[in-house]
Point group: C2
């Protein structure tokens, strides 16, 4: 982010690198561009969703290999590749679980790769390793059914991109009864009152904010790509959108007293690592200026799909992003130092899921890791 | 049923008395009329649903007492009174469970008494005795959620008036995973291709027939009342409708080879008694002429809401209905013998629910009780 520094002296806050667990699958050779956008937003680890903005999805050995080849030597962030559930691939997906250790069950009927029949989900639950993660974007009827199946099969499940208070309440009720369910909400669902293009979301903004304690993780989600498509924005890579507005939006809410910095760290750093068994990233951190007012450059890709972000200055600038001891971003400048990107495929270093079917870990209030936040002057 | 006997010599089949587990709650002093219609159809036991065709429902001590008073000395069938779940009455309903031992959780938003919030169902599951039955008419989203809650609370649940193959499949899948769920389908959903007034049902007729093995019970259901209302039929008591067409319709299907007599006995006699712990009725039975062709009288109430039933003769006439040794119906004539009706409130003789949360009994194929059917010449 190019930004104008209104305040000459400011405090720096250090955050662990952020994790976006359902990053849009970059099309073609878009890996480098997408992970660079993530780094510029303070994200150092991505779950590469099984689905892209186009018709592509990782459903097979071949398509997973293709994505892994695209990532090798071209990713600035660490990442883990997810695999899409289809009605045809329960056995194949399970066989790939070492390489693509998160199963993504999509009910998004606007994408050609999705699941319609619950019996297919049953087959996946029978085949997929008990200790490997399952993510679903199910909502409404599909959500109730996915939670039912998770309960019947004693499976842990993570619900991504929750958009309604009803869905959140159902997840919370299930969790209170011992189901091991977690969820995330897109940052953009929390600021949808400023997104005119997406229907039905605006009235849910306040109900979602009022249920913050039920939200385990934040994500970037597919809303930026959906909003860009709805607004007819051309010439942008959908997989790059949204990252660089996350911390300005959230820390503006912090400055307004609607959120704490600990809420942000829990939901974007600690919780996703804990839930998905993602490893720590040594010598990896993000320095931000929380109290610095920034304006988003009018020509940035994000300004095209989220024009309202230009209306007033936001709090918080990403000052520096360090990946494994190397500074990749400093005051708006990205430094790749002429070297190949250093991001790693994490599939072989994932810890197995930390929780059994009792879900007790998730029923407890999130605990802050000691020293996750430090403040320098 | 007044009927023309086309065949002078015919075999008589003896069935146990039929059970309609969700009989419409009769309004005012309609108990005698509704139970007489039931007897004329071969039904000797009714679950009196918590809901009537009007706004009335049994939700409290007062309303349960009112229904019980209306039934005492005015019921020709045995019966059990059900209680409606509301958001306000989890504690009150549980306290009434000895007198109204079946909890009815309705999601029918066209009736003023229904449940909207899942948290209310939670409260009922916490309060309602573990061994007492729960019936719900939930469908779609509500059904998935009810099954989820039943799973989380380890409760047995009976789903009434299932109308879509999707809902049946979801119940069957849950059952295959050990959930203790049973269901019924209205006979009229199985013949809805002949009911022009009810939208959306016709395309489900064949899918429902093809899933007969997943259907535990048949019921009369609320379809006759709904069809009569949709067709603007006046001057009928909704609680009397449908009973007398049940056996003619089902045995016409038997004569066409789509069903067996054992299927009928299992789903209308044995299964409801087994599932709800209903007692045997001594010296109580129904004699039918399976091979007799009958025509429904054009002026009967049932001909008003189901005009297509007049188009061709149906197989099967109810020849005789015997309740506790007394013949109440013989060849179309109802005999009350100048005595008060002998039907009993069964609330204190219900066996506790026969099954634990494993639901194994229900996952097994229905077994025919030995001697349930006998044939005389
Ligand atoms: Zn490259
Ligand atoms: Zn589809
Ligand atoms: Zn700076
Ligand atoms: Zn600075
Ligand atoms: Zn009377
Ligand atoms: Zn309502
Ligand atoms: Zn006869
Ligand atoms: Zn005869």
């Amino acid at each position: 982010i190019e930004s104008v520094d209104y305040i000459t002296s400011h405090r720096t806050t250090v955050l662990p690198g952020l994790v976006n667990i359902t990053a849009l699958l970059p099309g073609g050779d878009g890996f480098e561009q997408a992970t660079r956008a993530a780094i510029c937003g303070g994200f150092t680890m991505l779950g590469i969703s099984a689905h892209g903005a186009d018709a592509f999805a990782t459903t097979s050995d071949q398509s997973v290999s293709k994505v892994k080849s695209a990532g090798r030597g071209h990713a600035h962030t660490d990442y883990v590749v997810e695999i899409a559930a289809t009605e045809a691939n329960p056995t194949a997906a399970a066989a790939l679980s070492a390489d693509a250790p998160i199963l993504y069950v999509s009910f998004d009927r606007s994408h050609p790769v999705h699941v319609d029949k619950y019996s297919a989900v049953s087959e996946h639950f029978k085949a997929w390793p008990q200790n490997s993660a399952v993510i679903t974007n199910a909502s409404g009827n599909d959500l109730a059914t996915m939670l039912l199946l998770a309960s019947l099969f004693s499976r842990q499940i993570h619900v991504t991109d929750v958009r309604t208070p009803e869905d959140l309440d159902l997840i919370d009720l299930s969790r209170a009864r011992g189901l091991c369910a977690t969820c995330d909400v897109s940052v953009y669902a929390l600021f949808a009152d400023r997104l005119p293009a997406i229907e039905g979301l605006q009235s849910n903004v306040q109900p979602l904010w009022s249920r913050l304690s039920a939200i385990d993780c934040f994500t970037v989600g597919v809303l930026p790509a959906q909003a860009a498509k709805a607004a007819g924005v051309k010439d942008v890579n959908p997989a790059t959108l949204g990252y660089q507005l996350v911390l300005p939006l959230l820390y503006t809410a912090v400055s307004e007293g609607r959120l704490t910095s600990a809420d942000v760290v829990e939901r974007f750093c600690n919780a996703p690592r804990r839930i998905f068994g993602l490893p720590e990233q040594p010598d990896t951190y993000v320095e931000i200026h929380r109290d610095r007012l920034v304006r988003i450059p009018p020509k940035s890709d994000d300004a095209k799909w989220f024009p309202d972000i230009l209306a007033k200055p936001a709090h918080c600038a990403v000052h520096r992003v360090v990946m494994r001891g190397k500074t990749l971003l400093l005051d708006g400048m990205f430094y790749d130092q002429g070297l190949a990107p250093v991001g790693r495929d994490l599939c072989h270093v994932l810890r197995t899921m930390s929780s059994g079917p009792s879900g007790k870990q998730f029923a407890q209030p999130p605990a802050m890791a000691a020293g996750a936040l430090s403040v320098k002057t």
